[in-house]
Point group: C2
Chain length 242, copies 2
DNA sequence: GCCGGCCTATGTCATCCGACATAGCGACGG
DNA sequence: CCGTCGCTATGTCGGATGACATAGGCCGGC
């Protein structure tokens, strides 16, 4: 069923800037569809020329790039409230792909209205830019990991970052959250091989800072994880949601 | 001396979207200063709360993050016409630093006017967003390198990317351009050690696809470099310049 | 004119990480 | 029931990369 922005259960969460009824109505006018896609669906394809702009309403997704010989790099993970497809919408050709990790729901924000939006609702334009800048900051951090952290530190930094983001969204209960990533996803996000990821995860599990198993992440000592990974950035919140 | 936008020698280059006199006047009204900084100057500091927004007018610069133990990752290089500091301006605290590689000139675009700008000149707001998205696409590509390319491929991809960008700016002459990077910068940008970067550069030089020496990059075979690096993205041009 | 700092270069050795092989387990379908 | 597929796990081995040491060139300062 269609979810109207006025009745959106996501945007009222404390992670997000609370908007006036009028502002919500503007967003609702922009939103043209509410899509449901199964896990694994690719909703933006590399090279696609007519990719749209989306807000992830529920579930997890990721953006990725790959080399022609098949090596794949996950650029960042998206959680509910995240905007996906801004680059693709502005450049007229997507330089990356985007895939659902779980069954997801997407709010479709037609890109042909994007220019118009800036004209008519500058406040919304500003927030789009803000969300684009946040997306870049996530990639910045991942580049720091891939370039300068060792394997165990990379995994710990990923855990710390995702945990903090999930926490602002209220997805954490008793230090645990659903983590719909396979070890292959973790490897692809961190620039590691699958086998090495597996072995490093086993070693980390023995350290008892956190553990990943059966699709759940349990963090026993967030401070310890953050210190080990040298990951000290809090998630940016409250933030706009469109 | 101050450079007025109406007399800006940079924005008339073919890399950039050509603007009407009226549009240029808007930008000129935004620009509040024209700064000159020596090579090595850090014009955005990590954690800085009042970092401004800049357009790089001349010279080279880079953005970086670092871990507390000193390991440094260069996130991307900036060439003339690039916008630097959008994240910092929007978040109220910078998550990265920015440093001049050469003597540089910067156009200062006061961030306190940024919100106002979106309201009054939505077209400019749109272009700011476009430039932010382009900056993210550069980081995306660098993350692909750090995560999934081998050392020699990384260097080749860096060369291909910088060469293509320099070419659209008219900085290439006879297949060569000034490259103000030390091997330490290359290492920090690619997630390699200095020594390994040096040895890999020597091996690449022997292959004669390109060579870096004495502050110059000479590309003998761009196709070959691109193929070896699996780097096939052209620079986005013409693009807005603010 | 000498010293020190920065950059590049090169050798040796240690380590991290990747490649390949194998195996167990659960889900799913014929 | 059985075969396949996706995911996790573990061992062995080799290769890519990092760490440490040393050296030479260049340049600027005193």
């Amino acid at each position: 069923m269609y979810v109207r922005c006025a009745a959106c259960p996501l945007r009222v969460r404390p992670a997000f800037v609370q908007k006036s009824d009028e502002e919500v109505a503007l967003i609702e006018a922009w939103k043209s569809d509410h899509l449901r896609l199964p896990a694994g669906a690719e909703f933006i394809r590399p090279e696609q020329t007519d990719a749209e702009l989306f807000t992830l309403f529920s579930g997890w997704a990721f953006r990725y790039k790959e080399l022609i010989d098949g090596r794949r790099q996950i650029l960042n993970f998206a959680l509910p409230g995240d905007l996906i497809g801004l680059q693709s919408s502005m450049f007229g050709k997507s330089l990356y792909g985007a895939v659902a990790l779980t069954d997801i729901e997407l709010c479709l924000l037609p890109r042909r209205k994007l220019g118009n939006l800036f004209e008519r609702y500058p406040e919304l334009g500003y927030e789009v830019t803000w969300l684009g800048a946040r997306s870049e900051s996530l990639v910045d951090e991942n580049l720091l990991s891939a370039g300068r952290r060792g394997a165990a530190e990379r995994i710990a930094a990923l855990v710390a970052g995702l945990y903090k983001r999930a926490e602002t969204l209220g997805l954490v209960e008793d230090g645990a959250l659903e983590l719909p990533l396979t070890q292959q996803h973790i490897a692809d996000a961190l620039g590691l091989s699958l086998v090495h990821t597996n072995k490093t995860l086993a070693r980390l599990r023995a350290q008892k800072l956190f553990s990943i198993s059966e699709g759940r992440l349990v963090v026993h000592n967030l401070r310890g994880v953050s210190r080990f990974a040298q990951h000290f950035e809090d998630d940016l919140a409250p933030r706009p949601m469109i």
